[in-house]
Symmetry: C2
Subunit: 382 residues, 2 copies
């Protein structure tokens, strides 16, 4: 593909969303000499502050969305919650990747799981739930505890509930009244792993290493690359991730989260149709980051190497500890760690559990990398 | 230093200039969660396009410069040609690094060389030139050829002339009529080398590896890190670079260019009081780039490690080949090189010799790194 498409100016990448993922996408786009347009409600968003082409009334504002579409040569997104009708509207004039067809298969977690199951991809057992009886039936087959999830809009544990008994079933139905829900068996996993996959318009695929993700309170706390698992497991995970992205005809970059069970099964948990927290480490860790490959993919450029530059990388999220300013009180000590990179997202307000930044440590010694990451993490003053 | 200075918003770094150096500084500032303000004449500059805080009428426009100063918490620069009076004006209300005192010692190359000589730093022989006789005298002492330089505003060979005989002396005096000039002996160097030095407000210093710079038509073509020289030479170069920056009380990041003579002397050629082309390689090549350390330095934060991540790095400039669009016709092949990163500056117009982008290859095998960089460079289609 010719980058300029015979225009005398570089392409403008439009991004739906202005958070940290859009910010890190923007940085890679800028490095490649591209322009960036951001649409996101709010005057000061992490990515919106980085461009003049910032539409701050959000995508439901007709004049903003139309101007955003007009100025963008190609459009992508940083979150999966954009209404399909909006994506279809955009597609009447510009290409958006992932496409509305892909997003239809991802946005509703029940349809997502059905799609994977229909493509012979191993997933935990699940069922659509429309009544209390359906819940009791699910419990009878798979036992307690199990999980109820809203089919749409859930993230970081929001929209999930663990069901331990019949009483919980009733509570859950009331709690999620009016929402479409599904039930999913409780997977007793040994590890959670993830694989980032980029796939361009021609179908070329770049598969990143299988990494271990460690959650705290349902939010990603730490990522260790590569995951300390047998090659048979990591190969299985990479195979599942690649098949999952192909099964939804995904174009762009995708984060695929999986469970590794005690008996060495790998089950697909969820797919994110965008750069993913489990792939932050690729900025310092790999020759070509998930962000750069996301941009290459939607421009149908050759994908970059997913090879790691050093043997190991460890990423730790910096979560807000309470309501307050968006930046730490002191980063002096953080900056003293030699092999660790600090990323702060420039969010204007912090709140408990909000993703405010992250650190990534790289190196060739597993123990040293993990220790430096932990020590650095503990040195930040909020 | 506390990054927020007790304000509930992050600091804004103001940069005088909107070119590629400001762009790469901005990217690092953004990663650290800072805001960026750019003042540079013109609507579409590489760094100006990356922020809403872009003052496009330039620093001679009173309302623009005042608003730029007001919005910036701390100010730095990407070129050495800003009038001292402007820097002094800025200093009446905000800190700028490098300071006007430093810039006074750098901007005039005669004063620069005098300062270094007075601090026992080896420089080529030179003299102030105010008459034809002074030129003849210089020739008598040091012989032909020698170099005439304008004392201010020269770069990439502009403002330089090689003097081969008495006739050239007259031509040069006419050519540079009305400008302050100096003469400098012609150094028969074996190699040109450079060292990047960052120095923060507390005087902490970070010294990068000694690299070899290869010029074509007086413009940097290629940088090889580290330079293939004896340790005694590279240590001498690093020592000179550090002393040079200290001698001008430099705060920020500096590129120090030196000659290595046939008899293993190291002579300081010139200092650039800003991130330098010879330090582009530090983005991929070192744990902390010259751009990040430039920002840390002016915020008086601890400086990052200048250690190289791999044994070797090679940077090649992408210069415009003719007048035309600012981006290459085709980058497809460039992106196929696994260990090479492409940087395009998003300048709106190219012209012969203009710096439009660069590539950096990293790796542990000297020959492979140089070959990949050359092959990649040759694959770009303008």
């Amino acid at each position: 593909m010719i980058l300029s498409q015979n225009k005398n100016i570089p392409l403008t990448i439009g991004i739906l969303g202005g958070g940290q993922l859009a910010k890190m996408l923007s940085i890679e786009a800028y490095r490649l000499g591209l322009n960036v347009a951001i649409i996101e409600k709010g005057d000061n968003t992490p990515a919106g502050d980085m461009t003049k082409l910032n539409y701050t009334n959000g995508w439901f504002n007709t004049s903003d969305i139309n101007e955003f579409i007009r100025i963008s040569d190609i459009i992508t997104l940083e979150n999966e919650f954009i209404p399909i009708t909006m994506l279809e509207y955009i597609e009447t004039s510009k290409n958006i990747f992932p496409s509305s067809d892909t997003m239809k298969l991802v946005q509703d977690k029940y349809i997502q799981k059905m799609t994977f199951r229909n493509n012979s991809i191993a997933v935990p057992n699940f069922a659509e739930i429309k009544s209390l009886n359906a819940l009791y039936n699910f419990a009878e087959i798979y036992g307690y505890p199990f999980i109820i999830k809203t089919r749409t809009l859930g993230y970081d544990g929001y929209g999930n509930m663990t069901i331990n008994n019949e009483n919980d079933c009733e509570i859950a139905l009331n709690k999620f009244d009016g929402k479409s829900i599904m039930a999913e068996e409780f997977v007793r996993f040994e590890k959670e792993v993830a694989v980032i996959v980029a796939r361009n318009i021609s179908g070329e695929v770049a598969i990143y290493p299988c990494v271990e993700t460690i959650q705290k309170n349902h939010i990603c706390h730490k990522v260790i690359a590569p995951a300390d698992v047998d090659a048979s497991i990591s190969n299985k995970a990479k195979d599942i991730a690649q098949k999952a992205v192909a099964s939804i005809n995904g174009i762009g970059v995708f984060g695929v989260e999986m469970f590794v069970t005690n008996d060495s099964k790998v089950l697909l948990n969820e797919i994110a149709p965008r750069p993913h927290n489990s792939g932050h480490y690729t900025i310092e860790g790999c020759y070509c980051s998930q962000y750069e490959n996301g941009i290459r993919a939607i421009l149908n450029l050759p994908l970059g190497s997913t090879e790691m530059k050093h043997k190991f990388a460890c990423m730790i999220n910096l979560l807000g500890e309470n309501d307050g300013p968006g930046i730490p009180k002191d980063i002096t000590n953080v900056l003293k760690f030699k092999h660790t990179k600090l990323h702060l997202y420039n969010k204007k307000q912090s709140r408990k559990g909000r993703k405010m930044g992250h650190i990534t440590t790289i190196g060739d010694n597993y123990d040293e990398v993990l220790k430096e990451a932990e020590d650095c993490f503990n040195s930040i003053v909020w």
